[in-house]
């Protein structure tokens, strides 16, 4: 009996069923689409190889070991024109990362501020923020970059204006900061009893002073954290919280200060020498223009994300907080923003990625990012279009995937734990 009933399912497989049987049809279509896609990819690859052959070119990455022969103005690694193309790419990559990190930080600060202020009950403040957002996000970022650069070049004084008795420009903050149309010079930290540098893999070196300082600071903060937790335990047990802030502050602040004194910390001030200022930290106006333009542009989008996040938090939360007697500022920072964060983080990831990728517009102002070195001068001097563009895409892919992995991890931590 049961054998008879299950008979239809044992129906022998026929080829037509691939098309007419709904169980198989979607599978068939997917397999065909996949085959078509793979054929397309194979055709593209073989076409590329064939055309490179007909041009007499091969695919080789040997050029990365050749000397680059060009100079890069802003290099965070040791670099000169005898260094390899690979090193030039690394210098560019670090410049990309630098402007991306600086840009994401400033964009977040400005974006959150603008987003909160746009919801202000003050009519003028709210409208001004609307103007900011609509102004920045509706003009292409390239124009903002060029615009910021033009402002810096045209309005700030030339270095020579600082010279002589009838100087038309002067340095700020007690002769320590110079704003010029080539960039901003600020004092640099110097150590007269420096511990030196440690080379890492022969590729670059890190200042031992910085490492020591970070370790001391870390130990101090950890110690302060332990004291705070003990104070909390005491409070939980006895209801009396011991006064610990002088000890904690001292633990964090005093050891680094002592270390700085031992290392002979002092500031190196910029000075006008020859054509330019020398000494101090030189922030080129190409970097400043790119940084500000990318930050303010992206901040406009982040502000909208923040506003959306805040508005998505039920009004009842605010009312409940008010009814407990919390003031508006505390309500915002302790009740609304933590909940809004869950909604803000996912779109924030894509804004960070956008900022990082938009930094490839750097060449418009002559900032030597990885597109400018590997995808610009190296490509041009070696003629290896395919190889350099592939490497460049790999670079951006790696950066973007890392950013998104980190933020996804963070998102998983702050998101609502559902059971």
């Amino acid at each position: 009996m049961s054998e008879k009933r299950s008979a239809p399912s044992r129906q022998p497989f026929r080829i037509g069923m691939l098309l007419y049987d709904t169980r198989y049809r979607s599978l068939t279509i997917q397999v065909i689409a996949l085959m078509g896609f793979m054929l397309l990819v194979a055709w593209l690859i073989s076409n590329t190889i064939q055309n490179l052959n007909s041009l007499g070119k091969d695919v080789s990455f040997d050029f990365l070991r050749q000397p680059s022969s060009y100079d890069i103005n802003q290099h965070l690694l040791e670099y000169d024109s005898r260094s390899s193309h690979l090193r030039a790419s690394m210098v560019g990559l670090l410049n990309t990362l630098l402007v991306a990190v600086l840009g994401c930080t400033l964009a977040t600060v400005v974006g959150v501020l603008i987003g909160v202020l746009r919801l202000s009950r003050n009519w003028i403040v709210a409208r001004l923020m609307t103007i900011y957002i609509e102004g920045f996000r509706n003009v292409p970022v390239l124009l903002w970059i060029v615009f910021f650069m033009a402002i810096l070049i045209e309005t700030l004084p030339r270095p020579r204006d600082f010279r002589g008795d009838d100087a038309t420009a002067s340095m700020l903050l007690g002769d320590s900061v110079a704003l010029t149309n080539r960039g901003v010079y600020v004092p640099e930290p110097l150590f007269s009893n420096s511990l030196g540098d440690v080379p890492i893999l022969g590729w670059f070196s890190i200042s031992l002073d910085l490492i020591t300082l970070l370790i001391v600071l870390f130990v101090g903060i950890t110690g302060a954290g332990m004291i705070r937790r003990r104070a909390e335990r005491r409070q939980a047990e006895t209801g009396v919280r011991p006064v610990t802030w002088p000890i904690r502050l001292g633990l964090i602040a005093i050891p680094p200060l002592v270390l700085l004194y031992l290392l002979g910390f002092h500031l190196g001030f910029p000075e006008l020498k020859g054509f330019n200022f020398s000494g101090g930290i030189y922030m080129r106006n190409s970097m400043i223009a790119l940084w500000l333009a990318l930050s303010f542009y992206t901040a406009a989008f982040i502000a909208e994300n923040v506003r959306a996040g805040i508005m998505a938090v039920s009004k009842g939360q605010t009312e409940a907080a008010y009814s407990l007697g919390l003031r508006p500022g505390i309500t915002m920072s302790l009740v609304v923003l933590p909940q809004a964060l869950r909604i803000i983080i996912p779109p924030l990831i894509s804004q960070y990625l956008n900022l990082t990728k938009n930094s490839s517009l750097a060449i418009a102002v002559g900032y030597m990012d990885v597109t400018g070195t590997l995808g610009g001068i190296t490509l041009n001097q070696t003629g290896r279009e395919l190889e350099t563009i592939l490497l460049l895409m790999l670079c951006y892919l790696a950066i973007s995937l890392s950013v998104s992995a980190i933020l996804n991890w963070y998102n998983n931590r702050v998101k609502l734990k559902e059971r």
Partner: protein
Amino acid sequence: MSKTRLIVAAAAASLVGGAVAAGTLDDVKAKGFIQCGVSTGLVGFANPDADGNWNGFDVDYCRALAGAVFGDPEAVKFTPTTGKTRFTALSSGEVDVLARNTTWTFSRDADLKLTFVGINYYDGQGFMTHASLGVESAHDLDGATICIQTGTTTELNLADFFRANNMSYEPVPIETNAEAREQFFAEACDVYTTDRSGLAATRATAEDPEALIVLPEIISKEPLGPLVRHGDDEWADIARWVLNALIIAEEKGITAANVDSMASSTNDPEVARLLGVEGEYGGMIGLSADWAANAIRARGNYAEIFDNNIGPDTAIGLSRGVNALYTEGGILYAPPFR
């Protein structure tokens, strides 16, 4: 901006490449015009006027080439290219010939798979600075901020020059001549360096040219010339001999005005061969018999093209110097036409 352009160019290089192997002359004849890569705007060499018509020394070479191929100097379209995009544009087949004050170097010839067809301007890299800085020699430039176009040989020469002289400098890389002008005129850089012809062109368009001086040092050889892709010798021959024809025309005194009367009345066998009165020389490169006459008719011989665009009577005001004919103390020399 440039990233997308490069990716598109690379993709185009892989896709269009197939068509490249076929004869460029046939392709050009089929589409009815020559696509000529020029600079994005350098007065005297390649610059569009208010009506969008391109003028200049390099532009006129392309017009002569169009004259030789089609008998019509207007059968040419211009693609502005930056120092960075020019070679990709050429090797991807986007342009048929590149006339963009491009320096002939070994690696461009051998490694970039390009063929230089000759030299139309012997140049050298120089420095221009603001007279008020009081600099008199390039050796005084230690620590200077220098504007430089990326993707050029000048960038490499500059690095070599400062390294060899143990001086430091601050390079400000820029994409086009227009950006360089903005930065240089605002004194965001002390010095602008490029080929001396380019410096003269930039200086000519300054508000006050007297406030700018070109330093005496010439730190490199920059033989500039038109170039085509590797692998199509027929097309390279045409491009090479159009340039040679213009130089021979100057040598023989053939001008745009007298080319017809010369053709009918000449007793000089070389002129007769060049202008197609004698022999079948046009057929050897796949063109009509009067190809050279048409090339000369387009914008005149080498001297006329030079004088009209960058010569002493123009705003650029370059003298012939080493670019004079070998008979007049220069090094301009075309192989014999026979």
